[in-house]
């Protein structure tokens, strides 16, 4: 965890509402895929937590959806600097993945899985990915995952691209896999939890105050006690999840 200023190198739309921003600056606080940054915006009191899509030395990429005034303000940025808290949260652990992990992402839950897929490929794993969207207009990063050498299945709720239905429809027909990693809205995570045949890790979203463990705004109950989504999360292991949250 570190605070720093990052230069906006690129900020371009991937779909009507989803943008990709490349930021230049110190990426040494990032230690695992699935971690996030918390972004301060002029005139907004709270920071905006956004997951890291991928990073190299000196550069990181985030992909975000315009959902309110804060993210709209981000989308309008052309260059300039952003104050970030960088390297927040636990991120995914690649150790238990086995030989052929399956990654399942929904909407803006897809980006952190890209950095994860990259890390797993580097470890020589056979990576499959299910990417779920509402319609063809909202699909992004299908080609980027394929370019990593991952097997990609796209699902859309209206059938306008890929498999018609939800990610779980593709999950039920998936080739054998050794482990799952997922990120997306909570109803999707619950469905994946119910349909998955193996252990796995699930990345959760919650309204945050600080993003670094101070305010207790994003707490949840788990089998092993109270956890903060921003600090001990956002990634929880299957065996510790309590759905009463």
């Amino acid at each position: 965890m570190k605070q720093g200023f990052y230069t906006v190198l690129e900020n371009e739309p991937l779909t009507e509402q989803v943008f990709r921003m490349r930021l230049g600056g110190d990426t040494s606080p990032i230690t695992a895929p699935g971690q996030f940054v918390n972004i301060r915006l002029a005139g907004r009191f709270l920071r905006r937590p956004i997951s890291v899509c991928e990073w190299t030395e000196g550069e990181l990429t985030i992909i975000y959806k315009v959902v309110g005034a804060g993210t709209a303000q981000m989308a309008a940025m052309r260059g300039g600097e952003l104050d970030l808290l960088c390297g927040l949260g636990n991120g995914y652990d690649t150790a238990p993945s086995g030989a052929s992990p399956l990654l399942i992402g929904g909407g803006v839950g897809v980006p952190p899985l890209y950095g994860l897929a990259k890390a797993l490929k580097r470890e020589g794993k056979d990576v499959s990915v299910i990417l779920g969207f509402r319609s063809a207009r909202e699909v992004f990063y299908e080609k980027e995952f394929a370019a990593l050498g991952a097997r990609v299945t796209v699902t859309t709720e209206d059938g306008s691209a890929g498999v018609r239905g939800f990610v779980t429809d593709a999950l039920r027909n998936a080739a054998p896999y050794t482990y799952t990693y997922s990120c997306g809205p909570e109803p999707m995570l619950r469905a994946v939890y119910g349909a998955a045949a193996t252990d796995g890790q699930f990345s959760f979203e919650e309204r945050m105050g600080c993003g670094f463990g101070a305010c207790m705004g994003c707490s949840c109950r788990t089998v092993t006690g109270f956890k903060r989504i921003c600090r001990e999360g956002p990634v929880l292991r299957r065996e510790e999840i309590l759905w009463e949250r």
């Binding site: 808290l85 309204r207 207790m216």
Partner: protein
């Protein structure tokens, strides 16, 4: 360089800056951002007798120049604080802390106060009286002079360490509550706690926060806090710890001119983990700018 030290209820602080309860955990987690020994002291997370999960989420809502929280006193319980949190803190903090305690009955306040006060690391007790009184129809202790006095008397009886009552701003006349606490032997008062507020998710037509309402804090409340500190400092003889929306060295000076002996910093810590370090670093220059040689001398310096 000007003098920044002040005395709070007989204990010397190297400067008046105090991270406020609920924004600084039990301190040790902030030691990875900066050396927390530079602080005047800090007020720990509100501690109750039993461990508490607190309210359901969402617990946070953003506001213009501030935020609403309804965390609901999540804490590991007084036993775990003494056995786990304080020993962890000892490894990175040499000073005395302000132990913030809460209760849902007068007996609970007294019990938690006695346990915390017995700890050598505890310098002051800060008694949060904004919680509901389960034996008093759920009304907050802090909204009735009689209930506030009763809590003060109970805590006073179990310790000789300084007892500071943390007052709720959600009352008609805060000075009346402050005087009731003073009359029962409080060594100080701190204010303001958060202002009751609310946001509605317009699209879903329901409150943003699961608990429906919560406490507003941040720069938005600073003028209200300042006004209440000013009124209270004139109504009591005991020291006042001023807080509410403080985010800069100038705000610290303004609070002190209003009558605060020390100044709490709350929501600012959540947006910028190094907020207090930066405020302390900026104080000498701000003092020079306003011709202040000693911060202690400007307490209550506003006409």
């Amino acid at each position: 360089m000007g003098e920044m030290n002040v005395r709070l209820c007989g204990i010397e602080l190297k400067n008046p800056v105090i991270p406020a309860s609920g924004t600084f955990g039990y301190g040790w987690e902030f030691a990875q951002w900066y050396d927390i020994n530079i602080l005047g002291t800090f007020s720990c997370k509100g501690t109750t007798r039993e461990p508490r999960f607190g309210n359901p989420t969402p617990r946070i809502a953003e506001c213009p120049s501030g935020m609403i929280n309804a965390v609901g006193l999540q804490n590991p319980g007084v036993r775990a604080v003494i056995d786990e949190e304080l020993p962890r803190l000892r490894r990175c903090y040499d000073g005395k802390i302000m132990a913030n305690i809460s209760g849902f009955s007068v007996e609970e306040y007294a019990e938690v106060a006695a346990l915390m006060a017995a700890e050598e690391q505890v310098g002051w007790l800060e008694v949060n009286i904004s919680c509901p009184n389960v034996h008093g129809g759920g009304m907050s202790f802090g909204t009735s002079p009689r209930a506030a006095a009763e809590v003060t008397r109970a805590v006073r009886a179990v310790t000789d360490k300084p007892v500071i009552l943390k007052l709720s701003p959600n009352v008609t006349d805060v000075t009346e509550i402050a005087r009731a606490c003073e009359a029962e032997g409080a060594d100080g008062v701190s204010l303001i706690n958060t202002l009751l507020g609310m946001r509605i998710d317009v699209r879903r037509r329901r409150p943003v926060i699961a608990n429906r309402m919560g406490g507003l804090s941040g720069p938005a409340v600073f003028p209200v806090a300042l006004r209440m500190v000013y009124q209270t400092a004139r109504a009591v003889k005991i020291p006042v710890v001023g807080m509410g929306g403080v985010r800069a060295a100038e705000d610290v000076i303004e609070m002190m001119l209003a009558g605060a002996t020390a100044v709490g910093v709350g929501a600012a810590n959540l947006v910028d983990p190094c907020a207090c370090r930066d405020i302390i670093a900026a104080l000498p220059e701000a003092m020079d700018r306003y011709g202040i040689r000693s911060l202690a001398e400007c307490i209550g310096g506003c006409d």
